[in-house]
Each structure stands twice: as structure tokens, then as C-alpha cells.
């Protein structure tokens, strides 16, 4: 009898405990640096948010266009006070504010995108976008006729430089004669300036324009001139249907759903995660109809190699613009080297300053 009772108790405890765990509504708050309708960075995160909103027992809310600095600290503190279980901040400049707030609310899970600081209850995450950039570079390299490709770049920070380098390596893999010209706008979202930057590249003979900013300005410039473009963040083909070849895109859903599961099960640990194409967090948008079948096949084959871990992209020998060897033959760049990249590979025309 005692055994039966013990088993029953155990069973009940587990059952009730399990039920309680499943019933506990997780409240997840997101903080975006720009409005979600931008078709860019914040939009891509919001698509991820909607995916977890659809999960059972998860409610989400977001605050958009929050300036970095004290404002973001106020928004995070507010969310933490309202008993949000997880707070996600998606811009680099939120890092220090989040660190401060995380210390005040040790029971809340804080997730920061694109930074490098962590705390016991604060982790950071990002994705290996350079893998998708490499593939988009292959497409650009195959489609250019003038062998000049333009790249409208945001800020000279390692993330952007790494993207330009990976893109150029992709271009050169299919077209060793092509060069990539870089124009910095020092903006993340300024359609007027970014379109003008795109036009300036077209004026010097570029016939494919890629970009790192969140606005479709450069796409418009390419469409008007009747040449090709490579988008970024999300499929930008609606803005330039005749120009848009493809785009390296984010798929944050993969990470967000995983992290929700981990937090629920109590297995989540603060740390830095940097998943890539194999996990599905970065991908390539569907090819435009102008991309020939053999190019698509070639890119898809390379994509399979990246997913399988056979293609690491930053593999020696790699030279910088001056011809100095930066990575010896056969060597693979470490994550530290990738995260701190401040030099351009051979084939890029422009400065990192």
C-alpha cells in the first residue's frame, strides 16, 4: 500500500509539476532600434517574434524605434518590473544598458543581439551572416558584365567588413577578374543617402549593387538604372523586382524558438552563441528570375557544402589589399579573428577607415 501511495504521490507530483511548468505563461519583450516596418533588421527580428508568439504559453510584446542609451534602459527596466521573463534587445548599442538592467533583475533572462558582453543572466547571440554573404557574392560575380560590383556599406565595424570580405571572396570564387567597390554611408537607415550612394557606384561602372543598410534605397537606384542588386536582411524584391537577384537574409525564428524551450526547461545558460547556415539562422532569399539555372545550381551546391561544414569561407591563403598574407595557406580564421576583422581582402576597392 505504501508503495502504491508513494508511486501515486510521485506520479501526481510529476503530473502537476509538469502541468504547472507548461501552464506558466512566458512573457517575452523585444526592443527594436528602428520601426518594424523597415523591411530590414527590426522587421527580420519581428518575424522571429511572431513565430514565438504563435507558440503555446508564450506572449510577446515589443517596443520599436527605441534610441540607444538611457531611453533603452528605461524601456528594459519597465519590462523587467512588469515581470517579463525574457527581454531581447536587438541593437549593438543596447549592450551596456542591458548589462546594467540585468544586474538589477537577476531572475529575468536578458538576451542581447550582436554584442559581446555577458552576465549570469544575460547572453548574447548573433548569426554567421558572412556565409550567406559569400553565396550572394557568387551570384553577383556570375551576373556582372563590367566586372565592377558596388557595395553600399554602413559603418566600418568588423561585422560589416567581414560581410564585404565574404561577399568579395564569393565574387572572386566565380569571377577572379571582378572587383568590389565600397562606399560608406555611415547610416543604418537613410534611404536618400543610401540611394545616392548606390547611384554613385553605378556612375563609376558598377552593374551589381549590394548593401548592408536596412533601407531599400540602393535597390531602387539599381532598378532605375536597369542593373542588378543584392538585398539584405529580408527579401527586398518587392522594392526592385527587376533588379533584385537575391539577398542574404536572417531567420531569427530558429534561435528564438530554441531559447524559449531552453528557458522553459531550465537548461538555458548565459553565454555567446553564433549559429550559422547549418542551424538555419541565415539563408539566401529566393533567386530572381534573371539568375540562370546553372548559377543557381552552383550556389546551391556551395550552400550544401557550407551547411555540411566543408566550406569555411575564410580559409587561407588570404591576402589583404596590399598583398600581404593575412591567413596562411590552409589555415582557417578563428572566431576571434572573424569578430575582430578590420582589413579588406584583395579585390576590394575602398578603405576600412
Amino acid at each position: 500500500m505504501r508503495i502504491v501511495k508513494a508511486v501515486l504521490t510521485l506520479f501526481l507530483t510529476l503530473w502537476v509539476g509538469g502541468a504547472v511548468a507548461a501552464d506558466k505563461e512566458l512573457k517575452v519583450g523585444f526592443i527594436y532600434v528602428s520601426p518594424v516596418g523597415d523591411a530590414g533588421w527590426s522587421y527580420s527580428h519581428d518575424v522571429g517574434r511572431q513565430a514565438i508568439e504563435a507558440m503555446d504559453g508564450v506572449t510577446t510584446s515589443y517596443v520599436e524605434a527605441v534610441p540607444e542609451g538611457p531611453d533603452s534602459e528605461r524601456v528594459m527596466t519597465n519590462m523587467a518590473r512588469k515581470d517579463f521573463d525574457i527581454i531581447v534587445a536587438t541593437s549593438f548599442g543596447y549592450m551596456d544598458s542591458m548589462l546594467k538592467v540585468a544586474k538589477q533583475f537577476p531572475k529575468t533572462v536578458f538576451l542581447h543581439c550582436s554584442g559581446f558582453k555577458t552576465a549570469e543572466n544575460m547572453g548574447n547571440f548573433f548569426g554567421r551572416m558572412y556565409q550567406a554573404r559569400y553565396l550572394s557574392g557568387m551570384v553577383a560575380g556570375a551576373m556582372t558584365k563590367s566586372n565592377t560590383i558596388g557595395y553600399v556599406a554602413a559603418f566600418p565595424i568588423p561585422e560589416v567588413i567581414r560581410g564585404i570580405n565574404a561577399f568579395t571572396l564569393g565574387v572572386r570564387a566565380v569571377n577572379p577578374k571582378a572587383t568590389v567597390r565600397v562606399v560608406w554611408t555611415k547610416t543604418w537607415y537613410d534611404p536618400a543617402t543610401e540611394k545616392e550612394a548606390g547611384k554613385s557606384l553605378l556612375d563609376v561602372g558598377a552593374d551589381v549593387v549590394a548593401q548592408h543598410q536596412d533601407s531599400p534605397g540602393p535597390q531602387e537606384a539599381a532598378q532605375e538604372k536597369g542593373v542588378y542588386s543584392i538585398g539584405y536582411n529580408s527579401d527586398m524584391s518587392t522594392f526592385a523586382p527587376k533588379a533584385h537577384l537575391t539577398a542574404p537574409v536572417w531567420n531569427w525564428k530558429v534561435y528564438y524558438t530554441k531559447v524559449i524551450d531552453e528557458v522553459r526547461k531550465g537548461t538555458w545558460k548565459a553565454g555567446s552563441v553564433w549559429p550559422g547556415m547549418a542551424e538555419g539562422i541565415v539563408d539566401l532569399a529566393p533567386f530572381g528570375p534573371m539568375v540562370p539555372k546553372e548559377v543557381q545550381d552552383k550556389v546551391n551546391a556551395e550552400k550544401a557544402r557550407i551547411i555540411a561544414g566543408e566550406q569555411k569561407i575564410f580559409v587561407g591563403p588570404l591576402k589583404d589589399q596590399s598583398g600581404a598574407v593575412k591567413l596562411a595557406a590552409g589555415a582557417v580564421a578563428s572566431d576571434e579573428e572573424l569578430l575582430g576583422m578590420t582589413w579588406f581582402v584583395d579585390g576590394v576597392i575602398g578603405t576600412t577607415k
Partner: protein, 306 residues
């Protein structure tokens, strides 16, 4: 740089100078009547938003352009009572207008970010666009650029060759004398403020209807402030405003093209150019103050006469 690139650069100069030109002319009109309006940035962005929204819903860019001008007038009409009826501080009221305009436009415009709308595309002017060099630089643009060519001479004619223009200038130069001469100074100042707002609204609409066909928060990106500085550079003269606006547009277009052509200059230095130029321009114009047409009663309030 080859001739082709130089011509492309100059054509881009005209285009990026156009929104600043509209706004600068608007501010000149306002300041000529004696009212300083630091709300240009806020008025421009409201014009940009309304232009975009009207174009999106009506499908008629011309209607949108005019609507943007009217909204510019309506927005500056907020500035009017403060300065003209209640004798409030013009600087503070203008700053408030900028903060209000930018905030309101960003708030109301959220739903329109990333949505497409019709706008103006380049229409080469028959005959003129085939001229060598000048054709591609000046006559291969969208219709709004051609409109902007007409505004400075018309504004100059208004200010210098009409009775109303003379009255408006009198209101800005020596309001007491204007009152003694029987002019309704407050009415002339209203004309300056609201008329100026119309052009500021057009400048904003140029950004969302022609420069790009997109709306985004902070689309004006400080161009309204450049217009305020350019008024001083232009010595309050419409003709010099054209020169100033194209100088700025040219620097903006040039720095991007220098980068594109592979100049080994740090991009930070190049991007600083328009702002360095603002400082240089202000210093140079204060040296030559004698030749300036600055209205003597600029920023000085006038009590309404009952």
C-alpha cells in the same frame, strides 16, 4: 575622373541640392518678413510624410506635392500665433516646432514605413535635354527639379518688384516705419511665415516623392538645419540660395563618388565635408557682413496694432 563621371556628379548635385533649395527659399521668405523660423526640419518632415501618404492613397504625385506644401503652411501656422499674437520667443517656438514636427511625423508615419507609393521619375525636357553637358546636368530630372528652377526668380520678383514684396520686406526691416506708413505688419509677417512654410513642405515632399519613393522616420536627416545655415550664407538672397544649395548638394554627391572611384581618403573625413563647409560658410559670411541683406528686425516681435 572622366567627363562622364563629372557630368553624373553635377546631375546628382542638382538633385541632392533641390530639397535644400526649396527649404532655404522658404526660410528666406519667412525671415525677410522678420520672423525667424527654426522649425524648418520639423515642417520639412511633415511635408515629406503628407506628400508620401497622399501619393499612396490618391495615386496622384502632383496632388501629393501640393498637399505637402499646404501642410507645410499649416504647420508653420502654429509658429504664427506665438510670434505674431503673443510676442513669444521666436527661437524657442521654432525649436519646439522642429521637435513637434519630427516627433509627430515619426509617430504618424510608422505604418507607412516600407510601403511603396507612386512618385516622380525623371522626364527629360525635349530639346533642352539634348544640349551637350548642360542637358544631362540640368534637364534630365524629375519635374519637381524644373519647378525648383522657377521658384528663385519668382521669389526675387515678388520681393523686389511687387508692392506686397516691398511691404513684406518693410515688415522685416523696420516694422515701426511700416506701421507708420499704414501697413499691416502682422498680416505681412503672416504671409512670410505661412508662405515660407509652403516651400519647406515642398522641400520635404521632394525627398519622399522624387529623391526616393519611400517614407522612413527621420527622412530629412538634418537637411532643414542646413537650410537655416544656408540662409545666412545666401545673405537672404534667393539667387545666392541656389548657389549655396547646389554647393551642399555637390559636396554630398561628391564625397560618395570620391569613395566609389576608390579615393584612399578616410570616409569619416569625406562624410564630414558638408558640415565642415557649414562652419566655414558661416565664418566667411560673418566676415562679409556688409554685403548681407539680413533684415534689420529679424527675430524682433511687433505688437499688433488695434
Amino acid at each position: 575622373m572622366s567627363t562622364e563621371i563629372v557630368i553624373a556628379l553635377l546631375a546628382a548635385t542638382v538633385q541632392s541640392g533641390t530639397p535644400i533649395l526649396f527649404a532655404t527659399l522658404g526660410e528666406i521668405l519667412s525671415e525677410k518678413s522678420g520672423v525667424l523660423n527654426l522649425g524648418v526640419e520639423g515642417v520639412m518632415i511633415l511635408g515629406a510624410l503628407v506628400g508620401f501618404v497622399v501619393a499612396r492613397h490618391s495615386g496622384n504625385p502632383l496632388l501629393a506635392f501640393v498637399a505637402a506644401g499646404l501642410v507645410g503652411s499649416a504647420a508653420t501656422a502654429v509658429h504664427g500665433p506665438v510670434c505674431l499674437w503673443f510676442q513669444g520667443n521666436q527661437v524657442v517656438s521654432g525649436l519646439a516646432l522642429t521637435i513637434f514636427g519630427v516627433g509627430l511625423a515619426n509617430y504618424l508615419g510608422t505604418a507607412y514605413i516600407g510601403t511603396p507609393a507612386p512618385g516622380f521619375s525623371p522626364v527629360p525636357l525635349p530639346g533642352l535635354s539634348e544640349l551637350p553637358v548642360l542637358g544631362p546636368i540640368f534637364f534630365n530630372h524629375d519635374p519637381l527639379v524644373y519647378v525648383s528652377y522657377l521658384v528663385p526668380p519668382l521669389l526675387w520678383l515678388f520681393l523686389h518688384a511687387t508692392r506686397y514684396g516691398l511691404g513684406l520686406r518693410a515688415a522685416g526691416e523696420y516694422p515701426a516705419a511700416a506701421v507708420a506708413a499704414g501697413l499691416d505688419v502682422v498680416a505681412y509677417r503672416w504671409l512670410g511665415v505661412v508662405g515660407g512654410g509652403f516651400f519647406m513642405g515642398l522641400g520635404g515632399a521632394y525627398l519622399s516623392l522624387a529623391y526616393t519613393h519611400l517614407w522612413t522616420s527621420n527622412l530629412t536627416a538634418g537637411r532643414g538645419w542646413i537650410a537655416v545655415a544656408l540662409v545666412i550664407f545666401a545673405f537672404w538672397r534667393p539667387g545666392r540660395a541656389v548657389f549655396g544649395a547646389y554647393l551642399f548638394g555637390g559636396i554630398m554627391a561628391l564625397q560618395l563618388r570620391l569613395q566609389a572611384s576608390g579615393a584612399q581618403l578616410p570616409s569619416s573625413i569625406l562624410l564630414m565635408l558638408p558640415y565642415t563647409l557649414t562652419v566655414v560658410v558661416l565664418v566667411l559670411s560673418s566676415w562679409r557682413k556688409g554685403s548681407s541683406d539680413e533684415p534689420a528686425a529679424l527675430g524682433v516681435n511687433v505688437a499688433p496694432v488695434d
